[in-house]
């Protein structure tokens, strides 16, 4: 039940993430178009809000994407030492690592919610959006990380029984570097 619900959330996240990136593209393109073409033919319009909304879409994309990536094991981490350890020790290291992440995520939920609370009285410079709607990305993401950590915890125990230890050593998705 827990895993089924979480799986649905994570699948839904993929669509949300793709959509956020799509929205960022639209806002940035709108800005280029307006600046290069409309201003050229005499329409003195500016769309400073497109940049602002684009940035806020990116902030949500980063936080939700990080939560998703943690759940699917795509975060960049150093596997150098861990990969060489015997399975029993690797499980132990995995568990310690998950506990560290959960502790940190819980702290982020707490301070993130505090920031959100202050955010209700802070408005964005152009569109006058409540900044709380932006700051909310951090506690939401951290809460998702805690939930996903449950799955990772379970997997860490499963790994002790899996036949081929190399399948958990695949290099992370590092296409960004």
């Amino acid at each position: 039940m827990y895993f089924a619900v979480l799986n649905t959330i994570n699948q839904g996240l993929r669509y949300v993430l793709g959509f956020l990136l799509f929205a960022m593209c639209l806002f940035a393109l709108l800005q280029v178009t307006v600046r290069l073409f409309l201003n050229e033919i005499g329409f003195a319009v500016a769309v400073p809000w497109s940049e602002e909304v684009g940035r806020y879409a990116m902030i949500w994309m980063i936080f939700l994407g990080a939560a998703y990536a943690f759940g699917s094991g795509q975060m960049v981490s150093l596997q150098l030492l861990i990969g060489k350890l015997p399975l029993r020790w690797r499980t132990a290291a995995d568990l310690v690592s998950i506990i560290v992440v959960v502790g940190f995520a819980l702290l982020l939920v707490k301070v993130g919610l505090q920031a959100t609370e202050f955010g209700w009285i802070e408005k964005s410079p152009v569109l006058q959006i409540d900044k709380a709607l932006v700051y909310l990305a951090m506690p939401v993401s951290a809460a998702l990380i805690v939930l996903n950590a449950g799955t990772r915890f379970f997997q860490a125990f499963l790994k002790r029984h899996c036949a081929d230890p190399t399948d958990i050593m695949t290099p992370n998705d590092k296409a960004g570097s």
């Binding site: 793709g18 940035r55 990536a69 960049v76 150093l78 596997q79 995995d94 940190f104």
Partner: protein
């Protein structure tokens, strides 16, 4: 603060994701100074609230669209048509293809994957040993991070607050130097080891082949003109250029080449968003680490100690290069850029080194780290494509490494030598 740095390394070794390790470790240092934890969201959001950073997801998306849209494949066809008949021609063509693809995508692993998939099997067919072919791709793909646009450069520019456009511009000459020195090495090696089949086609047939490949690829060749020309012509900011190249690659893939179906798009956008988030979340939490370093005045202290040790910028750059080569062997490039820049860039300035030049040294050096075992993204990718072990790549890689390190020394010192001469 020493405790925080020690904790950081322990967390790295335990396999804690680098982003979280960078967020957890400085908490100790903040605690030492009685700074409330509420500073964490403040620092992170300040780091993310940047239009410049948006260039990173756009370049990642554009690179993926070009890969899915067959842009890389067409460039490879062109390179084969032009140089397939020369001894060592195909291998040097892979360097040229990497250089071209690097002007379109901001990352070296994307370059390795895009160029290697087409060219490694092709090189094997022309009797290059498989490890040599894979090593060629791994070494030349590092140009993805050096020839603009470049995601690591954007990150450096954001962290060190220097101009991205200047940094991009400064990356062109080193990129050409590295590209041509690799080609020279390949010609020499192919000649001495007799790699590559030499089968000269009649001139007319060759011309027809090149013309056909050019017809198939000329629209792709326009991408660097639009992106780089747009940035240097003052038409676009780097972020705008990135999103324009997304639009161009999207139209090329869906309308012109028709290799991307609309149904593929949600997946391409989603996976690009996730890759971007993985990169950018590191930037955010690294800002917390950098904040802790700055309130403990670590860069200033280290700079003072460095200057007490030596006041010679040549010696300083040598020490930095050795340090970074070691760091690059073990830590993933972007993470390394983010960790070392806030510490080293201020010290470099106090030695009178131009921050743009120093940025290039850092990027070129850490790009070599992508090709060195045990942790080298390019090696992982090419060994997967070529279906060989990383160990078998090490021998052919050694000569490439030698050339890359000579290039690095030239790039580090030539500007300094000119500077001293002109004074």
């Amino acid at each position: 603060m020493i405790g925080a740095v020690a904790l950081l390394f322990v967390l790295f070794l335990l396999g804690v994701p680098i982003a979280f390790a960078l967020g957890v470790a400085p908490l100790v240092a903040l605690f030492e100074r009685n700074i409330p934890m509420q500073i964490v969201p403040q620092v992170v959001f300040e780091a993310f609230d940047s239009f410049i950073l948006m260039a990173i997801p756009f370049f990642i998306l554009a690179g993926r669209l070009m890969q899915a849209g067959g842009v890389a494949q067409r460039l490879v066809e062109l390179a084969i048509a032009m140089t397939g008949w020369m001894r060592g021609g195909l291998a040097s063509a892979s360097v040229v293809t990497s250089m071209f693809f690097a002007t379109m995508s901001g990352s070296s692993s994307a370059t390795a994957a895009a160029v290697g998939t087409g060219l490694i099997p092709e090189m094997e067919r022309s009797k290059y040993p498989r490890p040599f072919a894979a090593a060629t791709i791994a070494a030349s793909a590092e140009l993805g991070a050096i020839i603009p646009p470049s995601v690591p450069m954007i990150v450096y520019a954001v962290v060190a607050s220097v101009s991205i456009t200047d940094l991009f511009l400064a990356g062109i000459a080193p990129g050409l130097l590295i590209g041509f020195s690799l080609i020279a090495l390949i010609f020499l090696t192919s000649r001495t080891h007799d790699y590559g089949v030499v089968e000269k086609p009649p001139l007319g047939e060759w011309l027809r082949g090149v013309a056909r490949a050019l017809r198939r690829s000329w629209l792709a060749l326009l991408i660097p003109v639009i992106v780089l020309g747009g940035i240097y012509g003052g038409l676009f900011t780097p972020t705008e250029a990135a999103v324009v190249s997304v639009l161009y690659a999207l139209l090329l893939g869906t309308v012109v080449y028709r290799t991307i179906r609309i149904a593929d798009l949600p997946e391409i956008f989603a996976s690009s968003a996730i890759t971007s988030a993985v990169v950018l979340i590191i930037v955010g939490f690294a800002a917390v680490f950098a904040y802790a370093l700055s309130i403990h005045q670590i860069p200033q202290t280290l700079a003072a100690q460095m200057i007490a040790l030596t006041d010679n910028p040549f010696v300083f750059l040598l020490l930095v290069n050795i340090l970074l080569l070691l760091v690059g062997m073990f830590i993933e490039t972007l993470a390394a850029v983010i960790i070392v820049t806030p510490i080293l860039a201020p010290i470099a300035v106090s030695f009178g080194i131009d921050p743009i030049h120093f940025g290039i040294v850092v990027i070129v050096n850490l790009a070599i780290g992508m090709v060195t075992p045990p942790v080298g993204v390019n090696l992982f990718i090419v060994s997967q494509i070529a279906n060989t072990s990383i160990e078998s790549l090490i021998r052919p890689l050694m000569t490439f490494m030698g050339v890359l390190i000579i290039d690095l020394l030239l790039i580090s010192y030539l500007p300094l030598i000119f500077q001293t001469l002109w004074r």
